[in-house]
Symmetry: C2
């Protein structure tokens, strides 16, 4: 392609709308253009990047035996009612755009396709002889994000590859899942990205296990915890670890102490000269279920630990059935106004005891919130601990479970793992932290959707069984931007060779110089002929402008038909390293072909 004929406009200034480097660079370099909040046009350069990523994804999917298809973006509400997700997705979490057609029938714009594919499997799969099956598609998806931002990172319209597998049983599904896991590693490696696969929370999709694929970058929205031995990595939302050992308590006698002005852990520990590991912290949450029921949650957790709200949410979703609900709509630390609705007297915030319920939430029954206590594992073995005394300015010391306080039998893991913790698989390994951009997520779904929609098959014994499913997503447009976020410098983008829109750019410094033009035209033609995807900058612009633009758009190899032409040579510059070489014209194509082959591994 000739730049003189391309719709190619670069910007000198960073656009005001952009916050992170990759977003700024993609706008400035003319890859994307904002059309509305979280809505972008992919311009010709970007489209080539997206096609390259898609093609790598396609090849790796096909290699697993998965079959490409294309499912509708408009999805009938009835299908989502069968799975029970219509209200959650359109009202509660509200991330699905909903609309009505001219017959007033409700439709959703697909953010994901479990319902549609399960309905198709229900129709088409009858026998174990048809299994396994994996279908995938590469498609624009929609999410009505609360806060669209960072360009393609969190857009309202984005390109996804989503795959869905159907197996006869759990074991077969895990084999398929493992194949996909391998394919995802291959995809990211081939795209030239530094990444990490991490244990992840399964969220609203559901299922028993999931892994996220994180492209490592400072601007990543996710925190990853990992060990240097390579045997553990998890999203902080999901991460587990060994907490530090608790120090033995020096309080051997149970008594109430006056501890004025100690509403924080730090203050009470300083006042009582004890370790936070000897303390039971009592934290209150208010959860609203989709059935309309509000539940108060009191959590006991060790003084030096924090609550991981994703883990808390998951525990509360497990209890949803008790409240005639399917999910938790909101989870908040109740503020003073919320407390007034159910507390009969002001709560002794900062001084609550594990027994708080009896004294303070008397009026709760009148407005019917439920009350649940959850015990984090970190406090179950504490002895002679310190905790609040349900009275402002007082703590108990030397308290014990079973003696002064009844321990709830809901003992669960709610603590937030953090960098510096010891790893469970090997306590000599210490958790490290990194930031990442989630570009893939694979799920062991199990039978959640097949049971809900009645997608069954007949096994060898003639029994009707639910299909066992997995689902596997990659954010294609997000991956493309994350490559930029991971690889740029002050002059612009440094695209990995595998997904750069073009592999090389031939620059004519002066289009008035017939020799330069002739040499460049010949090289441009021959490079493309040789399969090297090449741009020609034949614009009537100053050389400096052309060099700047080439750096900005991040084409891996730049060839300049400049002064050394008189020696039969051209200048060849590698974008990533800025290393400049003078090559004889005849050597250019072999050199580029070799470099590209090496880069593509």
């Amino acid at each position: 392609m000739r730049l003189s004929q391309m719709l190619f406009v670069t910007l000198r200034e960073d656009p005001a709308e952009a916050e992170i480097p990759s977003h700024k660079l993609l706008l400035r370099a003319g890859y994307i253009r904002r059309v509305g909040s979280g809505i972008y046009a992919y311009l010709p350069l970007m489209w080539r990047v997206l096609q390259k990523v898609s093609q790598i994804v396609r090849e790796e999917m096909n290699a697993t035996g998965a079959q490409e298809c294309l499912l509708p973006q408009l999805q009938p509400a009835d299908l989502w009612r069968e799975s029970g997700r219509w209200d959650t997705y359109t009202k509660a979490e509200g991330i699905m755009f909903a609309l009505v057609d001219r017959q007033q029938r409700e439709l959703g714009l697909g953010p994901t396709h479990e319902e549609v594919i399960t309905a198709i499997a229900r129709d088409m799969i009858r026998s174990y002889r048809q299994l396994p099956q994996t279908l995938y598609q590469i498609q624009t998806k929609f999410r009505d994000e609360i806060r669209p931002r960072f360009g393609l990172m969190r857009g309202r319209e984005f390109i996804m590859k989503d795959a869905y597998s159907f197996d006869a049983d759990e074991a077969a599904m895990k084999l398929t899942y493992e194949k996909m896991n391998q394919a995802y590693h291959n995809i990211l490696r081939r795209c030239g990205l530094k990444f990490r696969a991490v244990d992840a929370d399964s969220g609203a999709i559901g299922g028993s296990g999931s892994q996220e694929f994180m492209v490592l970058a400072e601007a990543g929205e996710d925190e990853i915890l990992y060990t240097d031995d390579g045997n553990y990595a998890a999203n902080v939302e999901k991460a587990v670890s060994l907490p530090p050992d608790s120090e033995p308590s020096s309080f051997t006698v149970y008594e109430k102490r006056e501890t004025p002005g100690t509403e924080t852990i730090e203050k009470v520990c300083k006042f009582l000269k004890c370790s936070p590991t000897q303390l039971v912290k009592n934290v209150l949450y208010q959860a609203v279920y989709d059935s309309g029921i509000t539940v108060l949650v009191l959590i006991h957790i060790r003084g030096d630990q924090d609550v991981n709200e994703v883990k808390l949410q998951n525990e509360l979703v497990k209890l949803a059935g008790d409240y005639g609900a399917q999910t938790v709509l909101s989870l908040t630390v109740p503020d003073a106004e919320a407390q007034q609705k159910w507390a009969s007297k002001p709560l002794p915030l900062g001084y609550m005891s594990p027994g708080i319920s009896d004294d303070y939430i008397r009026s709760a029954k009148e407005i019917a919130p439920k009350f649940v206590r959850l015990v984090d594992r970190t406090v179950t073995d504490l002895q002679n601990f310190v905790t609040g005394a349900d009275q402002s300015g007082y703590h108990f010391v030397g308290a014990n479970w079973g003696t002064q306080f009844q321990k709830s039998d809901r003992v669960v893991d709610l603590r937030k793992a953090k960098a510096g913790d010891r790893a469970i698989h090997d306590p000599s390994q210490i958790l490290q932290t990194a930031r990442g951009i989630e570009i893939g997520h694979i799920f062991q779904l199990g039978t959640k959707y097949s049971k809900a929609l009645g997608a069954t098959y007949t096994n060898e014994q003639g029994e009707e069984m639910p299909l066992v499913m997995g689902c596997y997503g990659i954010g294609v447009s997000r991956l493309a931007q994350s490559a930029v976020e991971q690889s740029y410098d002050k002059d612009g983008i440094i695209f990995p060779v595998a997904i750069a829109p073009y592999q090389a750019i031939v620059i004519i410094p002066n289009v008035g110089d017939a020799d330069q033009v002739a040499a460049a035209e010949t090289l441009y033609g021959e490079l493309n002929q040789a399969g090297v995807e090449t741009l020609l900058d034949d614009r009537n612009e100053r050389a400096g402008v052309k060099f700047k633009d080439a750096d900005l758009i991040g084409i891996p190899y730049r060839i300049v038909t400049g002064k050394s032409l008189k020696d039969g040579k051209v200048e060849v510059v590698k974008r990533a390293t800025k290393v400049v070489q003078e090559l004889a014209i005849a050597d250019v194509i072999p050199a580029l072909k070799q470099w590209i082959a090496e880069a593509l591994g």
Copy 2:
């Protein structure tokens, strides 16, 4: 691909939902699956067909210098308000799905992209030096059809290629348009379709000239009129022709005659012993503009001719400015109830005169409908004609314009051309009729959108000028189905080689026969190796089932490793002709490669 591993299910019975052969066949052969009204899943076989069509489209677009991009499907309402189409598309015609996001901002789901691309051009194109530019995309589009039907033919979600060109002036735009016209011919020829390019009405898209590309098929929704010399073809909506000559009138004296029971043209002509070509027919329409104003339209047209409502609509849209409107929302022959709203006494239907307005629509002014008279060209030269006398059971004979009736000065072409008419370019050519499926439409848009959105460039003289646009659509999914509609037999689909999902299928009649399996596996591997896209039917099914399925899905070449194996031969069957040949195994690949090369031209 092995059929044993593919999600491949064929149906024996025609699905009840399908009306036309191609729809039935695509459902039965497992290409598509209905998910909702006008909403289909493209299963793996269909996806391959769509990819092949897309690739041909892409190659031909790229050959014109057009650049591929991808524009958003969600479109901000404000952009459509700038062009003035928001209300027309979401309310009046209502073919655009509209929704609101969580901030209650209005969005439309793109049925077309003139607004988005013009906004991008407005941002990016500043100078004549950047021109010409053509951008295109291949994308799922949405239309809230009143009556979705015929599968992919009139779906609510469908795949389109749409291209938009920007030129400096009308002459340059016409050159681009001509390139696109040629590219469209190439695309349809390469897809293996019988088609015709026809003059077309530009409808809601607008602009000065347009052509449709019609795939010829009995089930086509459109009627085409054409001449055998190849010099004229048009959609009947747009077609023009010479009407038959009118016979001279035998009525030389103007008088009112009693003509009882002659409310039809046929009856009055029989009663008065005159030709319909001597008669002025007066037809009443009621048009509602988008400004809310209702207009009564009285048309004078020759007795043997009919009104073309598309032409009428276009004439009325030209008058929209007079009524503070942009378009006509509805055009109906007013029924008795509608007439009562404005007629002061019952209209003498069947006996109206060209002067009807004065006597019958007295009360019109009170309810403020406007009144317009349009004169079709067929009546302007009539002399001594017959027409109604505004009284039931009476006609005037020997009437003349300028004497008994004032001719309106709005003389326009409103008549419906029909098969049998003489062609304008050569009256010796007689219009023929055929039915077609519209799969492409190219428009000379001009400056309609660039002026509305302020998309200008600076010309060589430093003047700011509006960009001159063209737009060019192909229904990719509709094209794929139209190929089936054009080419099938009682056993199933006969796909053109260029867009068949696979080019060949190797069938093992008996998977229990090790020789058959070995020969088939070898051929299957070697064919794919040689670049022949080949399926292997290795299912444990009866041979008859496999032959039926192969015919149904319409793979061009079938290879059967059957009885003739003992002679070192296999059976090769061409799907289109059912011609069976026994070929030595070594000859199979060369033969197929040659046949495919011939078919791809």
